[in-house]
């Protein structure tokens, strides 16, 4: 398909702009002006509509295809949430920061405050900031809160390390490193959880925090989590909960009850907001009361009259991690999702997410290696090692699935599983959809034995076949030349 720039014709326009009702100003000095207008596309409105409509048709999406992408919680996104978010489009964020401006924004400030309260109840934390703009941004914010906590206790120079299991999301060590910590990685034991003995050895008084995902990226719940928390706390290290997998445990376990001190949640995973093909996400961070003094500002507080105010400047705060109040439009959707599903609805979400993952796990177990054969939570991780004996890799199976109209599971993650295939069906998928997917997965396993070349050739039904990623990385053509 042509690029929009290849459809451009000088002089065409896609929209009529307002006419001027004021006199033309004297021009700016030439030294401040660009030499020529920026080389943007020049197309009619219809050209534009056809171009982007046709581009959209080259995507798989939740609304068009089953999307069991492990660790990403690609559930269906309710349409009413989109309508709700649009209600707030015209409100300028600086309005709340003007003198007397809080009174003009009681609806939004109150909603953000209430959303924080709902998330605190779901996760067992004492207060939530909605400022972080994505999961990894929440991780970084959370680790900065940890460092502010240690600094306030005079331990800034003493606390040097953050401990992560080797099964963690890559964002965990990356976020901790960006916040200034060195990383200690603890291997996974044969039972599928972080090796407890090696963890004990790794823990010293120089550890600032332990970052865990629970259930972990193998989809397994760590039964020793409270013991791990106690060990961490005995070294004055804080426990960080990566909320990427919260969809498994709503109403069943609260991270705050089992020893976690800081958490982030991914609203674009658990709380039904769409992922937008790469964002916007939203990563609110919850903390226990010891960490409240360090939360970023602006912080919304409820006064004795029940009005919502912005807290005055607080020197202990870590400051600010984003421009304003976070990805507000995403939070509108998450708030509406939570009040619509309610207590019973959210519990059912986790129950059926876990039911669906275990169903797929049991049905596919005869055909694919399952390195950690236990009851899983919301996702299960297979290995294509049996297919590898026929020269078929996890990537080949994913391309076969694309030809059959399924977005592939996450492959090659977690890295500790060779040829990993990580399947997260989510609660919104029907049994019929999963049964069809299971049949195609079985067919892929059989084709791996009977005709491996067919898997290597896939996909055949897409606008393009497999791409030369080496060429892309070596040549680095990242924008269209003139």
């Amino acid at each position: 398909m042509q690029l929009i720039y290849e459809k451009s014709v000088p002089g065409r326009r896609g929209v009529k702009l307002p006419a001027s009702d004021v006199p033309a100003a004297a021009p700016l000095p030439a030294s401040l002006l660009r030499s020529a207008p920026a080389g943007l596309a020049e197309v009619s409105e219809l050209d534009l509509v056809r171009h982007f409509t046709n581009l959209s048709r080259r995507n798989f999406s939740v609304d068009t295809n089953f999307y069991p992408l492990g660790s990403c919680t690609m559930k269906y996104n309710a349409k009413v949430l989109e309508n709700a978010a649009a209600l707030f489009n015209p409100l300028h964020p600086m309005t709340a920061l003007l003198p007397g401006g809080e009174e003009l924004c009681q609806g939004t400030l109150g909603m953000l405050h209430d959303l924080g309260g709902l998330l605190a109840e779901i996760t067992g934390m004492d207060e939530v900031t909605t400022q972080p703009l994505a999961g990894a941004h929440g991780e970084m914010t959370g680790i900065l809160l940890v460092s502010a906590y240690h600094a306030a206790r005079g331990n800034k120079n003493k606390k040097k390390y953050v401990v992560v299991p080797d099964s963690s999301h890559g964002t965990n060590p990356a976020s901790a490193a960006i916040a200034g910590y060195e990383i200690i990685t603890v291997p996974t034991a044969p039972y599928g959880d972080m090796d407890l003995e090696l963890f004990k050895k790794a823990m010293t008084d120089e550890v600032a925090a332990v970052m865990m995902t629970c259930p972990n990226t193998l989809g397994l719940f760590n039964p020793h989590i409270r013991e791990i928390s106690e060990i961490a706390h005995s070294h004055d290290a804080l426990m960080y909960y990566d909320g990427a997998n919260l969809n498994a445990i709503m109403g069943k376990v609260k991270p705050g009850d089992v020893g976690f001190d800081v958490i982030h949640v991914n609203l674009h995973k658990t709380f039904g907001t769409p992922h937008g093909g790469g964002g916007p996400g939203s990563g609110p961070v919850g903390v226990k009361k010891e960490l409240i003094p360090f939360l970023p500002q602006p912080r919304i507080i409820k006064d004795s009259q029940g009005r919502f105010q912005l807290e005055a400047r607080r020197p202990t705060s870590i400051g600010r991690t984003a421009n304003f109040f976070g990805n507000f439009g995403v939070m509108v959707k998450a708030y509406a999702y939570i009040i619509m599903l309610g207590r019973e609805g959210l519990i059912r979400v986790s129950e059926q997410a876990v039911l669906n993952a275990n169903y797929i796990k049991e049905r596919l177990k005869p055909y694919y290696d399952l390195p950690y054969d236990q009851t899983c939570m919301h996702e299960c991780v297979f290995s294509a090692s049996r297919q590898l004996a026929h020269g078929v890799h996890a990537i080949d199976i994913s391309k076969f699935l694309i030809d059959r109209g399924y977005h592939p599971p996450t492959v090659y993650f977690p890295m500790i599983v060779k040829e990993a295939i990580m399947i997260e069906p989510t609660e919104t998928e029907s049994k019929a959809t999963m049964d069809e997917f299971i049949e195609v997965m079985i067919e892929a396993a059989q084709t791996a034995e009977s005709n491996p070349q067919a898997l290597h050739d896939a996909p055949l039904t897409m606008p393009i076949s497999r791409l030369d990623e080496t060429k892309a990385a070596r040549e680095q053509n990242v924008c269209c030349q003139w």
């Binding site: 990623e469 080496t470 990385a473």
Partner: protein, 124 residues
């Protein structure tokens, strides 16, 4: 290959007089797949044995390169900056990465000969 010495991290050094050219082994290059980028050290940098000398990337992986010997970097193979595929074509010859003036030749005892390295690979 008598003058080649290998590390467990799959680097080699080929000693000529007081200097040694270093690179990664054919085995390591094969494991990485198509190499897309080699980060070379700066000429004049001082490196210690088994500490980071540079890094190497393929499409789906990134690894550090560890210095097999200590010393000062006296030359780097700038051809790798524009043609990283040399690593796949000639890992143990044309794709040398740096030349190091050895500060302690006795460190070679910490490395393996070619035949020892081949035996080591069989254990992986």
């Amino acid at each position: 290959m008598a003058d080649y010495f290998f590390s467990k991290e799959h680097e080699w050094v080929r000693v000529e007089g007081s200097k040694g050219k270093v690179g990664i082994s054919d085995h390591a290059a094969h494991e990485l797949g198509d190499v897309t980028f080699v980060e070379l050290p700066k000429v004049g940098a001082r490196v210690k044995q088994f500490e980071i000398l540079g890094s190497i990337e393929s499409v789906k992986a990134a690894s550090d390169i560890f210095a097999p010997v200590s010393g000062a970097v006296v030359a780097v193979n700038t051809a790798l900056e524009t043609t990283p595929e040399l690593v796949n074509e000639s890992a143990e010859e044309g794709a040398w990465m740096a030349e190091i003036e050895l500060s302690d030749p006795s460190e070679l005892q910490n490395l393996m000969t070619k035949s020892q390295y081949d035996d080591f690979l069989k254990t992986l």
